[in-house]
């Protein structure tokens, strides 16, 4: 894997020239761009930075990872030795979008093995997007990716396609590289199950026939002894996410990010009405251990070890916020394997390892070992 890293973005012309030179290297066929949200890129910046005649894709994330280093600003540019198939979908929040006909299923015959999926993490209908994606491409393919966007949870352009910067969009990038995927979070059940009586997309309105906030506050305060209110909502709720049960696997976590005036709680990711949720709790050790397990799971799902491997580490920004300084230990759980690692802290994670149902996760570590990238 070849990469360029820019932490000083003051001279865009210089960066453009470097990138241009990079694209002219013989074995560079496309660029995968990871940008830190603090860059505060506008669409015009992207036009200035990247050439318009080269396959480029990527996103702006709350933070980006290069080995043990975590950046809130800067650019990590990976040069890929293959020209992937890139599909862009715009206006993904439109519930009437006919996604199943939008995706090109002809590429199923072209020996692609790994799909990188980047979505605007603050779009609605991400669940529908992922479900449609699985419906079209589901069988025997690995998916890895996550939600792009800003930590301040305000939606703005965050998907890089060519030299354009788009909002409310998603990229599906099909690669021929083999990969192993591991998905683990380490969160444990605190209380539940509770029936979701009323939900609207990403928000739970009523839980067990009660106001969601009343129910949630009551349980958190009873189980943890802490007092939670609107002001400290996220700092406490960050440690008590919701969990959706599936058979025989870790629960799927939904991260409560906002308390609304009507008493509903908004999470990253949708809820089905009439589904059951638990309230989860987390400990540093369990979470970090789970990250290690995710690596092992990824490694075990590969038949063999390749001399040229890259770890794409997609971890949730809220785990970093929860783990605080210990987050470096979580990173080291990956980098200790002496495999070049790049990645991003995301707003929701997307993964399917081998033959699982493709899901949109929160607060979860996703480890992808990609060979010969």
């Amino acid at each position: 894997m070849q990469k360029l890293i820019f932490t000083d973005l003051s001279n865009k012309k210089l960066i453009y020239n470097e990138i241009k030179k990079f694209t002219q290297l013989p074995n560079i066929k496309s660029l995968f761009v990871l940008a830190g949200d603090k860059c505060d890129f506008k669409p015009t910046d992207i036009e200035e930075l990247f050439p318009d005649d080269f396959p480029i894709f990527g996103g702006i994330f709350p933070q980006i990872i290069d080995g043990n280093n975590i950046y809130t600003s800067g650019l990590i540019i990976l040069g890929l030795s293959e020209n992937p198939n890139i599909q862009i979908t715009e206006n993904i929040s439109n519930p009437n979008l006919d996604l199943e006909n939008h995706f090109n299923d002809d590429i199923l015959d072209l020996e692609f093995k790994t799909f990188l999926v980047l979505v605007d993490g603050l779009s609605s209908c991400i669940g529908k997007f992922i479900e449609s994606l699985f419906n079209v491409y589901g069988i025997e393919l690995n998916f890895i990716g996550g939600g792009c966007g800003s930590i301040d949870l305000i939606q703005k352009p965050c998907i890089i396609f060519g030299n354009k910067l788009l909002a409310d969009a998603a990229l599906v990038v099909a690669l021929k590289n083999r990969s192993g995927i591991g998905v683990r979070h380490g969160w444990e059940t605190l209380a539940g199950p509770f029936k979701v009586n009323l939900s609207e997309s990403n928000s739970i309105l009523r839980l067990d026939n009660k106001c969601c906030w009343d129910m949630y506050k009551d349980i958190i305060e009873r189980e943890s002894g802490l007092t939670i209110d609107k002001e400290n909502f996220y700092s406490i709720a960050n440690g008590y996410p919701f969990g959706i049960t599936t058979l025989g696997e870790e629960k799927i976590i939904r991260d409560p990010i906002r308390l609304n005036n009507d008493g509903s709680i908004t999470c990253i990711g949708e809820f089905s009405q009439n589904s059951f949720v638990h309230i989860m709790k987390g400990t540093t050790s369990k979470l970090i251990e789970a990250t290690g397990d995710a690596y092992l799971e990824a490694r075990n799902s590969l038949d063999m070890v390749s001399e040229s491997e890259t770890i794409l580490f997609i971890d949730c920004i809220s785990r970093a916020l929860f783990l605080k300084d210990d987050f470096t230990i979580e990173i080291e759980k990956i980098t200790q394997n002496k495999i070049p690692t790049v990645g991003a802290l995301t707003l929701g994670e997307i993964a399917n390892f081998g033959q699982d149902y493709l899901q949109f996760y929160n607060k979860t570590s996703v480890v992808g070992i990609i060979q010969n990238l």
């Binding site: 419906n135 491409y137 589901g138 069988i139 199950p193 025989g248 009439n274 699982d356």
Partner: protein, 981 residues
């Protein structure tokens, strides 16, 4: 970890998602999605059991992912079930359910039954579903199956309901008592009720009183037995209008034989009934009209048997209707000679090929025949040919009329032929033409004799002037001369009234008739005599006799023969006119010859004294006169030359108008022409202090073919004209190429001056004979006014025309274009344009044959000046004597002399036996400038021609040419001969 609490929760969540969705497919997909998510399966599908008769197959309703069949293990599992309608078997499922199988890749497939709906298939990796969970799922699966069946029923009901609603037939459902429970849109539209108005009411609502009650009784009898009733009824709409309805009522019978509903399906057949009535009426109308038609209309089947014929169809052929109905073969009405032909035509039409319609000889039952056109076309039924139908058109009358018309048309053709043939016939052949025309018309009308009689009312006789007789018929012409008109008084009387005499049968004339006696004496059986009129005056008649048989002429034939008679009159007129013309022409030719001779004589008579004047003036000028004499002499010379020029113009013009100008085309250089013009005209221009300029454009070809003399004459005329009418300024001549057409260069000649100009209303006048733009012009500038007319006429001879642009007071431009071919530089004749009187002629011995003393003096003066040795003969005879002994180098021979003229003398010289004398050079000296004289002189053997009063350089050149140059040429010729020998 799996625990039963989680399982219950999962089962509960799955159960809550069953039945969600708006249709069966969506509900199946949503349920499958929940199953897979909650049970952590990575793929799945739902199949619906379909029954065809007693056999079963499974139809895929939904799959997640859509392309689940890309998983080979899934395909292996699904192969246990019949998923194609082509492979359905009696047993629905070959394995017991729930069916579980795990492959090497640790994927487990689960196949579960969804009640009577079908199958649920799921694939799960690694961790298997617990056994107790699989069984716990069965009630949910059943519930899902039932929910999907319920959706299916709803959808089918919906489809049925939509089908009934969308039907164009009016549908009504009642309960067992006849109360309306449901009606569709078509029923509401047909009857005029809103849906809600009809529901709950009794069916009597639409019953009409005009129906026979017996129909209802029969209807209820059938329905009460549980049978379907079908019939027609009058129904009544909400607005009380009625319509004819075709109705089917079906009783719906319960398990125990009780009727619980009736379904009525009806449609308004009022329009259909009307159509049927209209069709019947149309059919009757056709039958009646077909029977009214006088032409037979018929139809035959593929075997040729008549299947239909109108009344005329059997009447015209004499058959009875029953004979036609019993399958009469159509060929029986066709004559035996034409049967094969019509059979072939019908065969082609029955095969769908194209074939024309022809005339046949038709055969009646009684054996009579008649000609008829048979028009036919194949009968198509549902795209197949099932026979032929057609019409028979009796053409007997048509053919007779046609024959008559053709005969008249032929007669007209002959008249046209005769008219056109003889219109341009030569005078000598006119008599022959009249005889020929009589033969043609006689043969055509099958007459035995055709003739013309001229009436001479002064002498009261008539003469047979032209006659043609059929072979074997005795001519009568010689016997019928000077016949008294009194013998044909009745005929003459009729002819004078413009009436023809037509005796169809002479034997019908009265026995004592004089005419009958005359006619019978000539064996004439029939006769027609048509008057001939010239300028409303009867001049005779044309007659046609029939000797061999009786011949009756129709009115139409008579009319046409009258036209023929008129043509003959025209021919006779032309004969007369041509004779008059011939006489007139001879007179005119004599007059023209007289004019020519007159001009020739006049030319000679005027030139002879002029010769003396000019010649003596030249001599006096050479003898160094005093200055005051010099001026007078110059005036004298100018006047004489001017007079000469006027004579030349008149002669030239005379030739032009009599068409005697023949162009002498040869190769020449345009530059030489323009130089020649300049040499001649520059002195004239200089004398008036006018600039004479010329310009030849570079693209003008150097050498061209044309009549250079005439071209120079035209240019000189225009230039002299321009100089004449220009007081100051310039005269410019320009020559340029304006195009190339048909292999010829189009050259434009332009003469421009800054003279007095010509008013635009005089542009035409100045080219007319003896005209100038005004009489004052003539007074001021003199001239004959023939210059420009000569130019115009010469240009016309050269296929060109003169153009003029002019502005009074500013000047005039004359221009013209002539097409010239490229010339050959090697063929150019070169002339010594500048003659220098040197001593070249010194010692040349000249015999001057001239009767006029003054002319002798003038000639001697110059000849002596050129140091020639000169002897004089006063006439041709003396000259002949002198030549015998004189050893002259050249003879100057006057043409008109007493005793012996120049022509006779020349002929005698050329006939002399002495070669030297015979070949002596003779130069004609003549006061006549006519071309004819020149030609005549050349024909008599003279070598050259000089007009008197002679121009000394011309005479000098001619002498050089005929003596020194000739000798050199002879010398070269002899050398060449000796070399070749």
């Amino acid at each position: 970890m799996i625990n039963s609490y989680d399982q219950i929760q999962l089962l509960y969540e799955i159960a809550l998602n069953i039945g969600e969705g708006s249709n069966m497919k969506q509900a199946a997909n949503k349920a499958l999605s929940t199953y897979l998510r909650k049970l952590n399966c990575f793929a799945g599908a739902i199949y619906k059991a379909e029954n065809i008769k007693d056999k079963c197959w499974f139809k895929n309703i939904t799959s997640i992912p859509v392309k689940i069949e890309r998983n080979t293990f899934f395909n292996e599992i699904i192969s246990h079930f019949n998923t194609s309608p082509n492979n359905c078997i009696n047993d629905q499922i070959q394995v017991s359910l729930p069916f579980t199988k795990t492959c090497e890749e640790k994927t487990t497939a689960y196949v579960m039954k969804l009640a009577d709906f079908g199958l649920l298939v799921m694939l799960k990796k690694d961790n298997k579903l617990p056994e107790d969970l699989i069984y716990a799922l069965q009630p949910l699966n059943k519930k899902l199956g039932e929910a999907l069946i319920s959706f299916q029923i709803k959808e089918i009901n919906h489809i049925h309901s939509q089908a009934l609603e969308a039907s164009n037939n009016a549908i009504l459902i009642t309960d067992a008592k006849g109360n309306i429970e449901w009606v569709n849109k078509a029923w509401c539209v047909l009857n005029g009720y809103e849906n809600h108005e009809a529901i709950g009411l009794y069916t009597n609502l639409i019953k009409s009183e005009s129906n026979d009650e017996k129909i209802f009784k029969s209807m209820w009898d059938s329905l009460s037995r549980g049978e379907v009733w079908h019939g027609n009824l009058m129904n009544k709409r909400k607005d009380k209008t009625e319509y004819n309805a075709e109705i089917t009522i079906t009783p719906l019978v319960e398990e125990f034989g009780l009727i619980n509903h009736y379904i009525s399906i009806s449609q308004d057949i009022t329009s259909r009934k009307q159509d049927e009535d209209a069709l019947l009426e149309s059919k009757t109308r056709f039958e009646e009209m077909a029977n009214l038609l006088p032409q037979p209309i018929w139809e035959i089947d593929l075997e040729g048997k008549l299947i239909y014929a109108n009344k005329a169809g059997f009447q015209i052929f004499g058959y009875e209707p029953h004979e036609v109905a019993s399958g009469l073969n159509f060929l029986k009405v066709i004559g035996s000679n034409d049967r094969h032909r019509i059979k072939e035509v019908f065969q082609r039409k029955m095969e769908g090929s194209k074939s024309g319609d022809y005339e046949y000889n038709c055969l009646k039952k009684n054996g009579e025949t008649f000609p008829a056109m048979i028009f036919s076309a194949p009968i198509y039924k549902k795209g197949n040919i099932e026979g032929i139908r057609g019409i028979v058109l009796d053409v007997t009358t048509l053919k007779n009329t046609q024959e008559r018309l053709e005969r008249i048309s032929s007669l007209q053709d002959i008249l046209i032929k005769i008219s056109t043939q003889y219109i341009n016939i030569s005078f000598e052949n006119i008599e022959y033409a009249i005889n020929n025309a009589l033969e043609e018309i006689g043969n055509f009308v099958d007459a035995d004799r055709a003739y013309i009689f001229d009436y001479d009312f002064d002498k009261e006789i008539t003469n047979n002037t032209f006659e043609w007789c059929h072979d074997g018929i005795e001519p009568q012409k010689d016997l019928l001369q000077d016949v008294p008109l009194s013998a044909l008084s009745t005929w003459v009387e009729s002819h004078l009234k413009g009436e023809s005499i037509h005796i169809p049968d002479v034997s019908n004339l009265p026995i004592d008739s004089e005419v009958r006696a005359i006619l019978e004496s000539q064996d004439i059986k029939s006769l027609i005599a048509l008057p001939m009129y010239n300028e409303q005056k009867c001049i005779g008649f044309m007659g046609l006799d029939s000797v061999r048989f009786i011949r009756k002429y129709t009115q139409k034939e008579q009319s046409i023969l009258e036209v023929f008679a008129q043509i003959v009159v025209n021919l006779k007129n032309r004969l007369q006119a041509e004779m008059q013309l011939k006489i007139a022409k001879e007179k005119a030719e004599k007059a023209e010859k007289f004019q020519f001779n007159f001009l020739s004589t006049m030319s000679h008579e005027i030139r002879t004294p002029l010769n003396a004047v000019v010649g003596l003036t030249n001599i006096l000028l050479m003898e160094t006169p005093k200055p005051e004499q010099m001026e007078n002499l110059n005036t004298l010379k100018f006047s004489a030359q001017n007079l000469l020029s006027i004579i030349n113009d008149i002669l030239d013009y005379n030739k032009l108008i009599s068409g005697n100008v023949i162009l002498n085309n040869h190769d020449f250089s345009i530059n030489e022409i323009i130089n020649g013009m300049y040499r001649v005209m520059s002195n004239l221009a200089l004398s008036k202090e006018i600039d004479l300029e010329y310009f030849v454009s570079e693209d003008v070809p150097q050498i061209i073919i044309g009549d250079s003399t005439r071209l120079l004459q035209i240019i000189n005329n225009l230039v002299s004209n321009a100089i004449k009418f220009t007081a100051k300024g310039y005269v410019k001549v320009s020559i340029s190429k304006t195009g190339f057409k048909n292999g010829k260069h189009i050259i434009e000649f332009k003469v421009e001056d800054s003279g007095i100009g010509v008013p635009s209303d005089k542009f035409t006048v100045i080219f007319e004979d003896f005209k100038q733009s005004s009489s004052s012009t003539t007074r001021e500038y003199g001239g004959t006014g023939l210059g420009l007319p000569i130019v115009k006429k010469l240009l016309q001879v050269m296929d060109s025309d003169i153009k003029i642009e002019s502005e009074v007071g500013k000047g005039t431009i004359f221009s013209f274009e002539i097409a010239f071919e490229d010339g050959d530089p090697l063929k150019i004749k070169t002339y010594d344009q500048v003659v220098k009187f040197d001593n070249s002629l010194e010692g040349i011995k000249v015999l001057l044959v001239e009767d006029n003393k003054i002319n002798q003096v003038v000639a001697l003066k110059f000849l002596h000046e050129w140091k020639c040795i000169v002897e004089i003969a006063n006439n041709g005879l003396i000259a002949l004597e002198m030549i015998e002994v004189g050893n002259y180098d050249v003879v100057l021979m006057d043409l008109q002399m007493p005793v012996m003229d120049g022509y006779t003398a020349t002929r005698a010289i050329r006939e002399n036996k002495n070669n030297k004398i015979k070949n002596i050079a003779i130069i004609a000296l003549s006061a006549s400038a006519l071309g004819e004289i020149k030609t005549k002189a050349r024909n008599f053997g003279m070598n050259d021609f000089i007009t008197k009063p002679f121009n000394p350089p011309d005479l000098f050149k001619a002498l050089i040419k005929q003596t020194i140059v000739r000798k050199e040429q002879m010398k070269d010729f002899k050398n060449d001969i000796s070399k070749n020998l």
